[in-house]
Amino acid sequence: MANLEAKTYMSAWQLAIVVFVTCVGAQIMLSPRALIEQVGHGTELSVLLGGVLFYGAVCLMLVLAKKYPGETIVEYAPRLFGKVGGTIIIFWFNLLFFLQVTQIFNGIGKIITFYMFDRTPPEVVIAALLVVSTYCALQDWGTILRVQQFMFFVAYSILTIVWMTSILNFQPENLLPLWPVNIKAVIMGSFSTWGMYSGYECVLLLIPLVYRQASLSSLLKAMGGSFGCLTMIFLMVIVVIIGVLTVDEAENLLYPALIVIRSVELPGTFIERLENYLLIAWVPVVFDTLTAMMFFMGQVCMRHWRHADHRPWVLLSVPIIYVSCILLDNQHVYDMVNSVTMWIGMAFSFGVIPICLSLSWWQKRKAGKGCD
């Protein structure tokens, strides 16, 4: 059969959309409490700083990816670190996605059970979402890319509209005092926002799928747009939570975002219990992140073992993901895994990638020496 689908490549802005939807995910509901508890007043500054910090990380990744056109980290990591070192880096890279996926499944299972089906076990909720996510992750990249764009326009619009209704309860004085803030807490908090911004690592896999003519500057610009939108969304969530609940109240609630939306009343309209609407709009957002990450895991395995199809790897990962997220049932274990994931992710972005860049530069320099 002729390949009639000439849309196997994507533009820089499509990559930006993919990064955006992969990053937002579940953390807009799961992360705010821990972050507010850690930083207190000035959480919004941490979010801003985090945006800048992780945009810097993604810039490094783009520079690295541009050095190896047509290749992913799975192909060039063994050349930089040797066979064993490369395998460790690839495993590390895949572990990041795996840990995030398990935490997201666990988180959504808890939230949906808690707010929508108090008598249904979270395992059922997780299994149902896992089935649909797997179905999507089994598709080709063309399909997933299209789904992500569709969700970007539809699900995020609905989510934003529903979330913005909470402005009705917003009290600006709850944000005070704006200054002074605990600078150290703000800086440490900006590292903790990794959970919110994580997912940008996918550029290391996706750059070969972007049109070759897309220059580094256009990619940086598109990523800047993506991180700008991400920062805006997270700021909107944090500012509204604090504005509605105050810092003291927010840090004592497990899911403050849902309490914020639950308190909204729209008298004279047909709409009640807005948290259900928010959760309905949130499920596609989480689904988007999960499918992307499951697809990336399958892709990494496929490329590493030089297979032609990612689907067996996705199917293989399903029981592992399910069992792992069931094992995270204990909140203490969950927090510990969350913390470990964050440091693994930070180390990858700010440790492995700079080393990769240095090695790449060194190898090029070394290769050039024998030519004179």
Binding site: L4, F117, A128, G142, T143, R146, N276, P284
Partner: protein
Amino acid sequence: MGKKKCFKVMKLSVSMPEASLKLAKRKLAELQEFTTQTAQIGEDIGQFISQLRQVAAPANEPFIFTSVLSENERLLRVVFKDCGDIEFRTFDAGGKKALLIYLEGMADTENLERNVIRPLMSQASPANVNTENVAKILTDMTVISEHILQASSVSVLSKASAAIETVMTGNALLLIDGLAEGLGIAAVKYVKRNIGQANNEYIVRGPNEAFNETLADNIVLIRRRARDTNLKVRIIKLGERSKTSIALLYIANLVKPGLLEEVEGRIGLIKVDKILASANIEEFIVDHPWSPFPQIQTTERPDKTLAALYEGRIAIIVDGTPATLLAPCTYNVLMQAPDDYTIQPVIASLIRFTRSAAAFVAIYLPAIYVSVVSYHPGMLPTTMAISIAELRARTPFPSFLEAFMMEALLELFQEAITRLPQKLAGAASMIGAFVIGTTVVQAGLINPLLVVIIAITAIASYSMPSYSFNMALRWLRIPMLILASLLGLYGVILGVLAVTVHLFSLRSFGESYLGEAFNINLLAGWKDSFVRLPAKLLRTRPKEFGAQDQTKVGESDGQSRS
């Protein structure tokens, strides 16, 4: 008293030995043996003849023409054995014996008489003085067709299979003694339906001509609308036995590279004995035959077909069916109606948006009802929740079962109305409306709100421009109801995601079914998708179909689009 003399009753065979049962049995056995042997000999002769033929004729030919007319006639009579409607007309043509073979009722006999029989027979009349020249002409079929016959379309046939096919399509076959070739003479004329109005795609403002069952007529309907030499028609035959003609229509300088070859290739792979409708082909050439969604657009409108051709798509017209296939097919084209281009763009845009909303309602509304009533009554205003609870208290069934029963009833009535004769369909729909709308509620089986929900769902599905798409929406309702009954709104949203992914994953000849929607690389296509901009702004063809020339010549191509 004397002794009474008695007659002894004896078998007839005593006085007539040839009438004995034993002899009769023996003779019968001999006769049976003789019959068996005769049949065996007949079979052997048949096999021998077929072996002889196999030697003489190529593998795919039943026989080869000889220069002996009687032999050709005998072979053709074998081929057309028990075909009572085949006419063998023998006549004298300039001193040579000629044979005209045609299908009675499918060939125009007047035409044959006037343009074939009369000119040939006149060669043999005593008035004709140029007999030498005639004898010369009658030695070559090409010369005969050029100098004697007055028929408009004639072709020389040297292969028996082509000659047989010519006869079976309604044309005439002329054979002349001394010539090992035949002449195929176009003389098709049979009873057919006239060009009528579109039954399923009626539009308020615009042309309403529709295809009929005749391939030639359907091609003419398109040709008449475009005097474009780039509009190409490629005819292929399909069906091992039916040999149905299929026309592939495309615009040579627009069609996406590779698309025509792909369509031809897929059609070429179809191995069936008969093609009775275009739907038979559709099932073979689509990428995902298990999907409920139509992956090939069907239309009975020539204007819609032509508009699709000028988008770079391909039309497949099947002889014997008015439903023409258009490929590739996407959600976008299925949701457009020709009327969209005859009304104001703003109104057309609103209608298109309404159609998409209706498609959503047609699948998910009953599921949303079941999930809200069963799992999330808190989402409803208190007064409404109380009134629904009151209504539901009167019915014995759970909401899922209620909705399922209503769906089943609706499907039953829809099927009955479709199958019944037109005069009874009205009565059936009246009964349906009465039973569903009143009796079921009065009997306390279903609550009135659900009746309203199902009625809205049905009306929403009827608003789809494509009937097959409407069927797909109907099909999806039951799985969605099951999901809603198991997992409430969470199940419904998972169902929405699964359907969305499925739609994006479907490919119709390389085009994603829902691919154009919200694709930022195809922004230009948005002008004529969920909305329709004024014709002045529609200067490009839909990018998703990959037409070679993206720019439309002029401000509008003046055709209503699919």
